[in-house]
């Protein structure tokens, strides 16, 4: 879509290209301290979610590696790990054995039997078969159950974990109801949230920009029709629209959430882009483009678009923030990502029940991650807008 690639470094001349809008904006952005800090944070989040996407980290978020509701490392003293609340835990893993193995910090320093207990525990820990045999004593079907678990493959090694490996007593960010690492979950969740945020914002921006360009540029009947469409869209309550689209798409998944957000979120971009095109189409340079014979599409996207691209970029950035928040809300309400994926919203949803029991770390992790990213991204958007604003030159 760009005009001819002209060799800027003509050997005969040896001069540099003048800085364009983008290089100037980049210069201004670099000079802004807040912009740089927020940019670093955003990039860190992006790297994190890329790494998660390619399975480099937090791949095993679904593994139950710790005891249920294991507390964060920093707060291990103030929070007692609770008894296993898993339904059927009593028959499953044997509370006596598992519980004993999982609570070393429960030892009272003044306990006269302390030494004995530690020794006992060490013995239990050494003999891998101890837990197994313990279960077998209680549950005659334990072997069958283990076999079944393996075949189902739901928890895969988890079954072995449950039975064989020692579960951790605490984790850096704590564990959830199933003993899954909250840190891994929140990283995996940021991957989902950022993916959804960016993808939906791109969908919405493309939709809004293209429709806005047509409405603003052509005006007249095209504009009327698109405005009607826009008005209808924006007159339906948001959640209702989301439900309707979810019902039409008939399946839950990340793609569905992206489509829902993208299809409902283009309206404000549409209005802005339309206004910009209305303004620009009457400008002399567009008239000049008409005079030299540029077609309508060429005028719209080759001549006008570079002049409004900064507006679109700022909108894109704004909508990423907006959609990350929207995804959280949707998942919290249960319209979001399916249960087999984790997102900040679904974490918040789970923490609803945990909070009553006093397990706050899942809520804290999801909230802090989200708040940091959203704040950094918003600050970055503001800085971007300032850097791109031609009036502030």
């Amino acid at each position: 879509m760009t005009t001819a690639a002209i060799n800027p470094n003509n050997p005969a001349l040896g001069i540099e290209r003048s800085p364009g809008l983008w290089s100037l904006a980049w210069k201004r952005l670099k000079a802004d301290r807040i912009a740089v800090v927020s940019m670093v944070i955003v990039i860190a989040f992006l790297l994190l979610s890329f790494a998660a996407f390619f399975g480099l980290i937090a791949k095993d978020w679904n593994k139950e590696i710790a005891i249920n509701y294991a507390p964060p490392t920093l707060f291990k003293d103030s929070h007692k790990p609770a008894a296993d609340l898993r339904p059927g835990a009593a028959t499953d893993a044997g509370p006596a054995v598992d519980g004993a193995a999982a609570k070393p910090e429960f030892i009272n320093d003044r306990d006269p039997l302390r030494e004995v207990i530690i020794e006992l525990k060490a013995q239990l820990g050494q003999s891998t078969g101890a837990a197994d045999s313990g279960i077998k004593i209680v549950d005659p079907l334990a072997d069958v159950l283990t076999e079944l678990r393996k075949q189902l493959g739901r928890t895969g090694d988890g079954a072995a974990n449950v039975v064989e490996a020692k579960r951790l007593d605490y984790l850096p960010f704590g564990a959830d109801k199933w003993g899954r690492d909250v840190l891994a979950k929140v990283i995996q969740g940021s991957e989902t949230s950022i993916l959804v945020g960016f993808a939906a914002a791109i969908v919405a921006t493309i939709l809004g920009t293209v429709l806005g360009a047509f409405a603003g540029y052509y005006g007249g009947k095209t504009d009327d029709a698109l405005n009607w469409f826009y008005s209808i869209f924006s007159s339906i309550p948001y959640i209702l629209l989301v439900l309707a689209i979810a019902a039409v798409l008939k399946q839950k998944g990340v793609v569905t959430v992206v489509l829902i957000l993208g299809l409902t979120g283009w309206t404000s971009i549409f209005r802005l882009v339309r206004a910009e095109y209305l303004k620009h189409k009457a400008r002399d340079y567009v008239r000049a483009a008409n005079a030299i014979g540029a077609s309508n599409l060429r005028r719209m996207f080759v001549h006008i678009f570079p002049n409004i691209s900064h507006v679109v970029l700022v909108q894109l950035s704004l909508h990423v923030v907006l959609f990350i928040k929207s995804e959280v809300i949707l998942s919290f309400l249960g319209f979001g990502v399916p249960v087999d994926t984790v997102s900040w919203g679904s974490m918040l949803n789970e923490s609803q029940n945990e909070l009553i029991l006093g397990y706050w770390w899942q809520l804290a992790a999801a909230t802090v991650f989200m708040a940091v990213l959203v704040t950094a991204f918003s600050l970055f958007t503001d800085a971007l807008r300032d850097a791109l604003d031609p009036k502030l030159k």
């Binding site: 001819a4 002209i6 060799n7 290209r17 003048s18 483009a289 002049n307």
Partner: protein, 564 residues
């Protein structure tokens, strides 16, 4: 000897651009304004004339402007630079007042003009209610607004440009100031209106015993009214003296260049002398070489327009519509290698004619014959190959170039659209050649339009048109936004290109002198109608229509004609 009312001594103003760079806008200027005297401050854009006037009013932007400590601006013996903000405010409006270039943007669009005048009276004279209103009506009467008792309740947009400027003047003289600063008060107005406003300012100056500091880029304008002329360039005073001396025996080369580079009605040198010519001392020889104009019947006709009509329809209410006749029954023949001048005041329909020929507007009625085909009857697609044959240069060079394109992209764009040149390199090569032709350095290719001055931008626009080698070039007020010296350069360029390529021009302008200089034939338009058309020399020598005569009379000649 009387003491001066305003005495500016060694005024230096610096603008801070960024951390390390600053720009010296005024490099130590000194001049006096005597009571009851009109002083004209003349200079082209960037000369610092407006900065001087803002310094007097204390309106320089505080963030980046600094006035040198050794400078002084004395008004009635008191140094204004030492005044507090409150003192300055009390002075502004009552003792010193100002009128600006753009009356439309200087008046608040949401208040009636009466309200705005009354506010000045309330602020500085303590008048209110009926007294203020009566005084406002009296002021409007004084500045020559018809039916002042009715017009006082109208909003700025309901008035014409000339009337708005009158309202601004009424506000400025409301408190009977001792000094009136007029910053390009007539530049945005038509010639006939300009003359009226100049007469009004001169009359008011006599009546109220004001001193006037008149700032303008156009020496010709001040010839009629100024007592004392100060010519500025690049923040320095080049020459000052009594108006009659400056006009009749200019000492400075720059002053002489300013006086001569504006085309005049009664002389047509082959090329207009520009400032460089004066500096090199070859201007006098150039003035002797005259160019003859006019068309012969044997000249081939390139474009023939018959009965062109253009109506604009605006919807009013539910079913009603209002038709505005922008151009009615315009017919002319354009001959090869010749220039047709199109003159008229704003709203006369001259630009509409230009845009309709380019099919940027659809003609309501009429025919335009180009190479045996009626281009008005063509569809957009059929017209496309002809589009490159007829090109246009717009008025505002700041708006007509895409700010996000480099000059190279701007010039190559038409070649890409019309498939001129085999590949990017061939196009770039052509672009370099054209840049050289319009007198721009090669490195311009990689720059953006905002890095160029107005005259250079207009050259870029011309280069863009030349890529398509048009037969007809429409110049829509193409030099109106430029300084006189730059205007002369662009006019010379257009003339050279016409000589070289044999293009036909349709030259649209409100400036009768420029049109006279450029044109072989002239067509005078008013309110969408052709008032008079014919050979340019004949028309200017003996105008038949009353309207043409009125236009010609309004050309500010001042003392310029005696110099020419």
């Amino acid at each position: 000897m009387t003491t001066p009312l305003l005495s500016i001594k060694n005024l230096r103003v610096k603008f801070r651009l960024d951390k390390h760079n600053s720009f010296e806008a005024l490099k130590g200027i000194s001049f006096n304004v005597m009571p009851n005297q009109t002083v004209a401050l003349v200079g082209e854009s960037g000369s610092g004339k407006s900065v001087a006037s803002l310094a007097v009013l204390g309106l320089l932007p505080k963030e980046n402007a600094t006035v040198d400590k050794a400078s002084s601006i004395e008004f009635e013996g008191k140094n204004l630079l030492t005044f507090s903000n409150a003192q300055k405010r009390a002075l502004r409006g009552s003792e010193i007042s100002m009128i600006f270039q753009e009356p439309m943007s200087s008046l608040n669009p949401v208040f009636t003009v009466g309200f705005q005048i009354e506010e000045v009276l309330k602020e500085h004279k303590g008048l209110s209610g009926k007294a203020a209103r009566d005084r406002a009506i009296a002021l409007l009467t004084e500045v020559g607004i018809p039916e002042p008792a009715i017009k006082i309740d109208s909003f700025p947009h309901q008035m014409s440009g000339g009337q708005q400027q009158r309202v601004m003047i009424a506000m400025a003289i409301a408190c009977e100031p001792k000094l009136l600063i007029a910053d390009e008060p007539t530049t945005a107005l038509d010639v006939t209106i300009q003359k009226q406003i100049l007469d009004l300012i001169a009359a008011l100056q006599k009546k109220h015993n004001m001193a006037v500091l008149f700032i303008t880029h156009d020496l010709a304008v001040v010839g009629d009214i100024a007592d004392h002329v100060v010519v500025m360039r690049n923040g320095e005073i080049r020459e000052q003296g009594a108006a009659i001396d400056v006009f009749s025996t200019p000492k400075d080369d720059y002053t002489r260049a300013l006086l001569a580079c504006r085309p005049v009605v009664d002389s047509r040198p082959k090329r207009l002398p520009v400032i460089d010519d004066f500096m090199a001392g070859r201007a006098d020889a150039m003035r002797l070489e005259q160019r003859s104009r006019g068309v012969k019947d044997s000249d081939p006709v390139v474009l023939e327009v018959k009965g062109l009509c253009k109506d604009f329809v605006s919807r009013e209410g539910l079913f009603g519509k209002r038709v505005f006749h922008a151009a009615t029954d315009v017919s002319f023949k354009l001959r090869k290698g010749k220039t047709l001048g199109l003159v008229g005041e704003s709203g006369s329909g001259k630009t509409t004619v230009g845009l309709t020929i380019m099919k940027l507007h659809d003609a309501t009625k009429g025919e335009a014959w180009f190479e045996g085909k009626n281009i008005f009857a063509m569809s957009e697609k059929e017209f496309l190959p002809y589009k490159k044959r007829i090109q246009i240069i717009f008025q505002n060079p700041y708006a007509s170039l895409n700010p996000r394109f480099t000059v190279g992209q701007i010039i190559c764009e038409p070649m890409i659209i019309h498939c001129i040149g085999a590949n990017a390199e061939a196009r770039a090569k052509m672009a370099f050649e054209l840049l050289a032709k319009v007198g721009l350095p090669e490195m311009s290719f990689y720059k953006y339009p905002h890095e160029f001055s107005g005259g250079q931008r207009q050259r870029i626009a011309i280069a863009r048109c030349l890529t398509m080698k048009p037969d007809i070039l429409i110049c829509d007020e193409s030099v109106s936004a430029l300084d006189v010296s730059v205007q002369a350069q662009v006019l010379n360029l257009l003339q050279d290109l016409q000589d070289e390529f044999g293009m036909s021009y349709i030259f649209i302008s409100h400036d009768l002198a420029v049109v006279k200089y450029m044109s072989d034939e002239v067509m005078v338009m008013s309110e969408g109608n052709v008032v008079e058309q014919g050979d340019s020399d004949a028309l200017y020598a003996a105008p038949k229509a009353a309207y043409t005569r009125k236009l010609l009379d309004s050309i500010p000649r001042g003392l310029v004609a005696t110099v020419g």
